[in-house]
Symmetry: C2
Subunit: 549 residues, 2 copies
């Protein structure tokens, strides 16, 4: 049997485009004498459609699109994901389904059993879990069709309170009782840099436990925060990867199931910084593409965060689509302006310089009756950041550019940033990248030639909002801070456990206090491109009014 894996980039709610992509892969497969072509989870409507699933008109459109796809499946079979309506009076409206299509129609529906409802997932909000199991009989083969999480019954985790056996039922065990020949799994599994090999290991453990080959098809592409990396693959029954599709790109491959048992690809080692880089470029590209935007703008400070952000933007959108503003004040050092200019010129992007000093003076004058002789403090620092935010949004509004936010994860964590100032933006590019990784990415970007001025990378980080200010005046060194933050945020460790890992008590408690105090700021930040297993945003829900210990 010849099986095609179609790893495509869908667009939520864009039924025309999704259907066209699916049908053209079906047509291509027919030409290549493929028996079965496999698409990813909820391919029909794009994943995750969220509350659009609660709209009757949206579901009707999925049904129409599915009908079109089915009609294209003559002389070939396909497995494609989409919502299906639960025919029972009880239970949620929908199932998250894999449709087995052949002879121009849906021959059978295979519903998802394990509905993930952790981190960024909330599938119980929409779907009824499956409880019935059957195989597909096709061209002499018995196929077990599963949806994503159905293979994830045991989840290795580095969160110290999460359970490895989240579910009480095992769909693979149920299906295995029916003696399948191989497994198809359609997925929508997002990228996270710190879960390297996790997905392959989950697939391997299934092939080993059940002694069955697995055809795994994931989507690629970004949907607002979530970035899907593809990495679709075929594992033979020994657990070897016999076929592997690209990262972060659409791809299509055909495997002959008779020839996979002796194949075993070596997996190429890619550094995690390079993967994050590629993920963010895709995230930017798809945010702009799917929103219908073309041009980006941002403020270039001469610091490392805006430097790395602008390079990513230039790579995703092209230099002609990035325009930056330099907004020095009396506290900006000369080298900052020079570094920013050098960077803009290295990239060949348009830049303008607007000094904020006079606007700042007007603000101070206007607030003088209220502020009186109170000393210069964070209020005045924030006013400068907000003037910059207003200037760059002025450009954005006048010319239709989208402002990119440049805050990194370390800053976002401890609230080192000004709400309505430098925290502005339509999309946060680095909000899930710790500062120490931002440095690494800058060096990575410079690997062939100096794009980001080295001075930007090596000088001590500063917000330049008061004389001689340095980040290290108010924050621990980023090496230490990021170590604490990773343990608190990604691993959910308590302060006691983090201190036991060798960090100073006072520093740990200060960092955690800052994280908890600044939930309110993160509440209002733009969507953050997610590259880790625990990003700020809808995958991390902390009540603002909570009292923390």
């Amino acid at each position: 049997m010849k099986i095609a894996l179609a790893q495509l980039n869908y667009h939520i709610g864009n039924f025309e485009s999704n259907t066209e992509k699916i049908i053209s892969a079906i047509e291509k497969s027919k030409k290549e004498n493929v028996d079965l072509v496999v698409f990813s989870e909820l391919a029909i409507c794009g994943y995750p459609p969220k509350d659009l699933l609660e709209r009757k008109d949206f579901i009707e459109r999925t049904q129409d699109a599915l009908q079109k796809v089915a009609e294209a499946c003559t002389d070939i079979a396909a497995v494609v994901g989409g919502p299906s309506i639960n025919p029972n009076t009880k239970g949620k409206n929908l199932y998250n389904s894999a449709f087995f299509i052949s002879n121009g129609k849906v021959e059978s529906i295979h519903n998802k059993t394990l509905l993930p409802n952790y981190d960024i997932f909330d599938e119980y909000r929409y779907f009824e879990p499956n409880t019935e199991f059957s195989l597909v009989q096709y061209k002499g083969q018995k196929i077990a069709i599963t949806v994503c999480e159905d293979l994830w019954e045991k989840q290795p985790t580095d969160n110290n309170f999460a359970k490895s056996e989240l579910y009480t039922i095992s769909p693979m065990e149920e299906l295995n009782k029916l003696n399948p020949d191989f497994v198809v799994n359609i997925a929508a599994s997002p990228f996270s840099y710190n879960q390297k090999d996790l997905r392959t290991n989950i697939l391997k453990s299934n092939t080993e436990r059940y002694n069955l080959p697995i055809i795994y098809v994931n989507q690629i592409g970004a949907h607002t925060e979530l970035i899907f990396d593809g990495d679709s693959m075929v594992l033979n029954s020994k657990g070897d990867v016999a076929c592997r599709l690209k990262y972060f790109e659409e791809d299509y491959q055909v495997v002959d199931m008779n020839k996979i048992e002796d194949k075993a690809l070596e997996s190429a080692e890619v550094d995690y910084i390079e993967k994050i880089h590629d993920a963010l470029v895709l995230g930017l590209k798809d945010y702009f593409g799917k929103m219908g935007f073309k041009q980006a703008t941002l403020g270039l400070s001469g610091g490392i965060d805006s430097a790395v952000t602008v390079v990513l933007a230039e790579r995703a959108l092209g230099k002609e689509n990035v325009r930056v503003l330099l907004m020095p004040s009396e506290f900006s050092s000369d080298h900052s302006i020079k570094d920013a200019v050098d960077l803009a010129e290295n990239l060949g992007i348009e830049y303008e310089i607007v000094n904020i000093q006079e606007i700042f003076s007007e603000f101070q004058k206007a607030l003088k009756p209220s502020f009186g002789d109170l000393p210069f403090n964070v209020a005045e620092e924030n006013i400068q950041a907000r003037i910059r935010g207003t200037l760059v949004m002025g450009l954005s509004n006048k010319f239709g550019h989208i402002l990119l936010n440049t805050s990194n994860k370390s800053e976002a964590a401890v609230g080192y940033g000004t709400l309505y100032g430098d925290m502005n933006g339509g999309l946060s590019v680095l909000g899930d990248v710790y500062k120490t990784d931002v440095f690494k990415m800058a060096w990575f970007m410079n690997k062939d030639k100096e794009i980001i001025p080295v001075n930007t990378i090596v000088k001590p980080p500063s917000a330049e909002l008061r004389p001689d200010q340095k980040d290290s005046d108010s924050l621990p060194d980023y090496d230490v801070l990021d170590g604490i933050l990773y343990r608190y945020i990604e691993k959910n460790m308590s302060s006691k456990e983090i201190i036991a890992d060798g960090f100073e008590k006072q520093t740990v408690e200060k960092a955690i206090r800052l994280v908890n105090m600044n939930e309110y700021k993160r509440f209002q930040t733009p969507p953050i491109l997610r590259v880790s297993s625990k990003a700020f945003g809808f995958g991390r829900k902390i009540p603002l009014v909570a009292k923390h210990s």
Copy 2:
């Protein structure tokens, strides 16, 4: 049997305060010879604790607090809500439990079966559903102990695609087979003005179906967005309300179960505007109280939204804790300034006036090289709103006041507001109140004397960001707009269905297009006090990059 209903205001994560409140109600009940005192759902830790439930240290603190409560229960029994640890290796870590406590210890644990996972609820994220049923035997009575949603197996709904039978199992049917004498239900059920009588009707339908009295205890108090209204009650087996606790206030009542069958309270009719008013006052009070804030600030424009917001703030926090800024520009009418001054003086709150004209001129000068001779448009309008946002945030940062956001739901829906400008704030007070209801609330506030200048209420709404601007220049009349928005947002109707309800096609399509286009703005708005069945915020999840039909 004498049963006490303890309707209390908890604070998430504040174990000291929650435990103290619970224990003092236990002590009071002992003095009144009560046999059983009932508290609400997750009373130990506060509801909703969200991802704090994923922290091992948080759960340990719930266990310690429960232990203290149990030790206080000598010569009395209590039912109290809290998380309990799932002892099985499979399934989620926790149950959402009701603890039956007697003789100084937890005698039995009754876990929640129906875990709501719609709108603002996401209990499947944390909890394993219950599958085992048993009664408590206490002083000769058999008690069925249930948690909130366990009674909500059939849900009447006005959303045209939601199912009335969301669940496939009925805990009440299971418990009823064991022949209980009465039902205890501990709840955390938030207020929504447009679900009047829903809760009472759900309780009534249960008493009627099973012919059993129900003791229902809800919490009161606000947790960031969510406002819980209390309204705890006892229904006799005929479905009459025999005892009813206060709305929006802590309350405590004792019922003698032998004397409820002949009691039937009349329910007092309260206008929905008054209920929303009381809910918002509580929401403000608790946000400030639980966050440890004291003083609020906001910009007073002379318009109705800031007027209604400042009155609510004055009622919640006291006039000494509200300070306002008037920020006129060349486009402000004289009457706007006068109306704002009159209002501040009527309330007796401190106000200052800062003209934004010169700051605005400096911005225009600074942007002249970029803007050239392009005509004045939304870019310049937004700059004015952002200058105001920066000024009022300056005050907030200098003096530690919390900025209140004054956007209403109609504006938030169609994106009629400036991000980083008038959309700023720590808390959105009116973000779930349609403009037409804001008008009604203004009249309600003036019912005894003119607090809000009548001119503010009767003049045509305007943002005053360009000469002679009126909301009606770019938006349909609010009567029409709100009718469309309510159908689209609360009822999930399609444009076709809304048009069939008698609205003009072009107006409906424009309104819906604006709602969909402006998801990105709402993504960055402050938490919104929720008073309806579908508020913007975490109960409504729309993917930003989605393509809408």
